[in-house]
Symmetry: C2
Subunit: 193 residues, 2 copies
């Protein structure tokens, strides 16, 4: 799914600037679904203008810099619905937190617990912003389905982290020297069939 399609999707919800589109994916209604950066958004918007899938006009604001507001055209809407018809790629997750945590045996236990705490704080923020960005009730059925899916996943993650963090504090006095130990250990061999 390329940045053009993602921008068109954002514009389906109404006209927006590049900055506002980014906010939709960062804390907004798309935050639990997809991620896209400025470096993709601005070039994509230029292409959308080229293809006449969007129009643009400058809006002056008071107390803020001017912004370039983009609107989707009917050609753009058609192209977007066309893109939606393609078979979706499987979900891709990228969690540096979990990756690091999965090597927690080689780290001091205190660092692991600290990491989990920051993980919890991160997801608390996500859950907060997803709640802020819209009310459950005034959404059509399918939108509500996706909205609540995100909330459910976040709440489950938080619940898991909070309850099972305790399991790691119990035995926190044991095996604190594993970090040093690993430096002299050979890689585990033969474990990969």
């Amino acid at each position: 799914m390329d940045a053009k399609t993602l921008c068109l999707g954002a514009l389906m919800h109404g006209e927006a600037s590049g900055y506002e589109i980014r906010k939709l994916f960062e804390g907004g209604p798309f935050s639990a679904i997809y991620d896209v950066s400025y470096g993709s958004i601005y070039p994509a918007l230029t292409v959308l203008l080229d293809k006449e899938w969007a129009t643009c006009c400058v809006a002056e604001q008071d107390g803020r810099p001017d912004k370039k507001v983009y609107s989707i055209t009917s050609d753009g809407r058609a192209a977007f619905l066309d893109a939606l018809a393609s078979t979706p790629a499987p979900d891709k997750m990228r969690s540096e937190m979990l990756f690091i945590l999965s090597f927690g045996d080689h780290l001091p236990r205190a660092n692991v617990l600290n990491l989990i705490d920051r993980y919890i704080a991160d997801y608390e923020g996500r859950l907060g912003s997803i709640h802020d960005c819209g009310d459950d009730t005034d959404l059509p059925a399918v939108r509500r389905f996706v909205h609540n899916f995100g909330i459910t996943m976040y709440e489950t993650a938080l619940d898991y982290l909070r309850t099972h963090r305790a399991d790691l504090t119990e035995e926190s006095n044991l095996a604190l020297d594993s970090t040093i130990a690993i430096k002299n250990q050979p890689a585990v061999s033969g474990s990969m069939q």
Copy 2:
């Protein structure tokens, strides 16, 4: 988190070929955590050899093509632990499925249900392969923490999809023509503060 670090992480579990590393991220123990492609893995392994963070030897197999087996060095292990110490970036999710579903109002209801079915099938497969790739009990505490986190998330997703799919079949006779209708509708404006 660059491909080099991800490969080093894979090699921390034991020696492996490029192909095997990929499998660790696709169906293996890293599948719920991170994703990395061949196009990143093979160049990364070359760099690891350059930096002497890994060694390589060719292994002949019967009934299969030869493979180049990589092992992490002690320098590599040090570099890896060093990389783990950096502050992790927030999780990034990329779900084309959910993105398409979030525009389900513009799609025929039958397509939406079909999408959900394929979503369920996908996550059933993930849950299956994560169960195959290791036993809960023989893992150290922190590894078990991450392992069960993945299982919990997958099970929650499946549970949500299965139960709430029904909500969308109830009213499946209504608003079947929304796909056509949208083509003549202007974009919703003013909804973005």
